[in-house]
C-alpha cells in the first residue's frame, strides 16, 4: 500500500488539525512525571518511548495514566511550544481530553485528539512516519513513511 492509501477512522475527541511526524508507543503514558515540559522529551524511565522527543509530533499510545496534575505539566509544555501536536489513543481518558480543552481555552493552541481507531495502529504505523490528523472527523492518514 502506498502511504496515501493508508487511512484510519477513529473518534474525534478534541478539534484541530495536525500534519507531521509520529511517535508510536505500546505502553500507557502519564505526562505528569513522564515528560519534561521544557523540552518535550519523554523522561519516564519505565516507558518504551523514554528519550524520544514528542514535541510537535503526533504521540500515539494506548491510554493515559493520568494524575490529576497532568494538565500542569501539559500546559507548561504548551506554553513552551514543546507539547505534542496531536494525540492518538486506543481510548482517551477524560484527563487527556481535558488537557487539550484547556490548551485551547487558555493558550489558543489546538491539539487534536483521536481515539477508538478501527484496526491495530501498531501493525500499520511506526515512529517516524508522517501523518495527517483531523480531530473533528477522527480521520488519520499516512502521508509519508519514515
Amino acid at each position: 500500500m502506498s502511504p496515501g492509501q493508508v487511512r484510519f477512522q477513529g473518534r474525534g475527541c478534541a478539534a484541530g488539525t495536525f500534519e507531521g511526524e509520529l511517535v508510536l508507543s505500546n505502553q500507557p503514558f502519564g505526562f505528569w512525571q513522564g515528560m519534561d515540559p521544557q523540552t518535550g522529551t519523554v523522561i519516564d524511565k519505565r516507558h518504551d518511548a523514554c528519550g524520544l522527543s514528542i514535541k510537535r509530533k503526533a504521540f500515539v499510545f494506548p491510554f493515559g495514566r493520568g494524575s490529576t496534575g497532568t494538565p500542569g505539566i501539559f500546559l507548561e509544555a504548551v506554553r513552551n511550544g514543546c507539547a505534542p501536536g496531536a494525540i492518538v489513543n486506543v481510548k482517551s481518558e477524560p484527563m487527556i481530553i481535558m488537557c487539550a480543552l484547556l490548551a485551547e481555552a487558555f493558550f489558543k493552541v489546538a491539539i487534536p485528539i483521536v481515539d477508538r481507531v478501527a484496526g491495530d495502529l501498531s501493525q500499520h504505523l511506526k515512529t517516524g512516519d508522517r501523518v495527517r490528523i483531523d480531530g473533528t472527523t477522527g480521520v488519520i492518514e499516512v502521508i509519508g513513511r519514515g
Binding site: C13, P37, I73, R79, P94, C99, F106
Partner: protein, 412 residues
Amino acid sequence: MQLTNEEQRILDGGGGEPQRLALQVLVKLGEACGAERMVEIASAHLVASSYQIAGEAGIAIYTQLVEQGARVMVRTTSDPGSIDFARWREFKTPEEYAARQVKIAELLDRMGVIPTWTCTPYTTFNVPHFGEHLGWSESSAVVFANSVIGARTNRLAAYVDLCAALTGRVPCFGLHLDEGRRGDVLFELEAELSADFAEHYFPALGYLVGQVVKDRIPVILGIRRATLDQLKAFGAASAASGSVALYHMVGITPEARTVEEAFGGRIPTERTPVGRREIDAVMEQMGASEGPVDVVGIGCPHASIDQMGRYAALLEGKRVHPNTRLWICTNVVVEAMARKMGYVETIERAGATLMVGTCHNDCPLEAWGFRRLATDSGKFAYYTPTTVGTECVFASTEACIRAAITGRVERR
C-alpha cells in the same frame, strides 16, 4: 448537551469572560464524555494550587483570570502548595521558588479560594455530605469523598477544577450518575487475612487493588472494621497506583451495605482472592530494603488529629536520630489543634518537624541529597522514586517512627 437558560447566558458571555471560558471547557468535556447536562456542585477543590503542578503556565492562567475579575461561585479549597509557608527556609526551599508559590497564593486569594493547602480538605472547611455533587481534583480527596462519604465527583484535572469553581457546575457523567458508581471487580479477602488485618495492610491492599483495576471500580469484601484514616490510606494508595476514584468496601462504605448493592444488582465479572501472599508480594514491590534511612515521611495524605496524637505517643521521651529527618505532613487546621493538645510540643521535642500545607512529594528537596526514604503511605511509595528521586521503603507507622529514632529501617 441540554443547557439551562442560565448556562446559555454564561456561554453567551453574560457572566463575564472567566465564566464563559470555564463553562466552554466544561461543556466540551461533557460532549466528549457523553454528558447530557450540567449538574450544580456544592464545592470545588483545586489541585493546581502547588507551583510544582501549576508552574509558570498556571501563574499565567491565574493572572489572566484575576485580571478579568474571576471569582469562585462555590466553596473552594486549595490542595497542598509546594512550600511550607512558615518553614520553607528550614526545608531549604530556594527563595525564588518560594516566591512563585506565594504568587499563586495571592492569585487564588483574589479569586476567593479558602487557603487550606491540604489534600484532606474534609478535615478542614470542605466537608461534603452523602449524595452531594462536587467538582474536586486531588486523587486521594476524590476517592475519599466518593467512597467514604458517598458524595459524587469525577476525578477532575488541574484547572478544570477551577472551571467548576468559577461556574458552580460540572458536566454530569461518570460518577455523578447511579450507573457510573456500580462495582466492576470483586476482591475477596481470604479468611485468615480478614481475621488478622494489620493497619499497614490498608495502603498495601489499596496499592494492589489500584494496579489491578486501573480506573475501574473495585469492591472489597472481608474488611471487618476500618477507621477513617485507614480508609483514607487505602484510597490514596489505590488512586496512585491505579486511577481509582471510587471503591466500595462491603459493610463499611455507604453505598455497599451488601455485595449486591455495591454491584448495583450486576454480577461481578471478575473475582480476585487476596491472601497474605499477595499482600506480602505488593509490600515487596512498594519497597522492602532495610538499612540506613535519611528521611521518614508520614502524614500522606495529611495527618488527622488522631494520627498526630498517635505520633506524639510514639515519640514521647524519644529522640530522632541525628542522621535522619522525621517530617510529619499535615494541614494548618490540624496543626493548630495538635498544638493546643500538646502533641506538637512532644513531636518537636523529639526532634521531628511538622511539614504544614505541603509534603515531601510537593516540595523541591534536591538540596538535601536524600538516598532512602521510609514511609507508611502507599501514595508516597508510588510517587517517591520519581518525585523525591530516592529509594523508598514502605513500612508500618510504628516501624517508620522506629526508623527515625534508630536511623535504620527494619521492617519487623
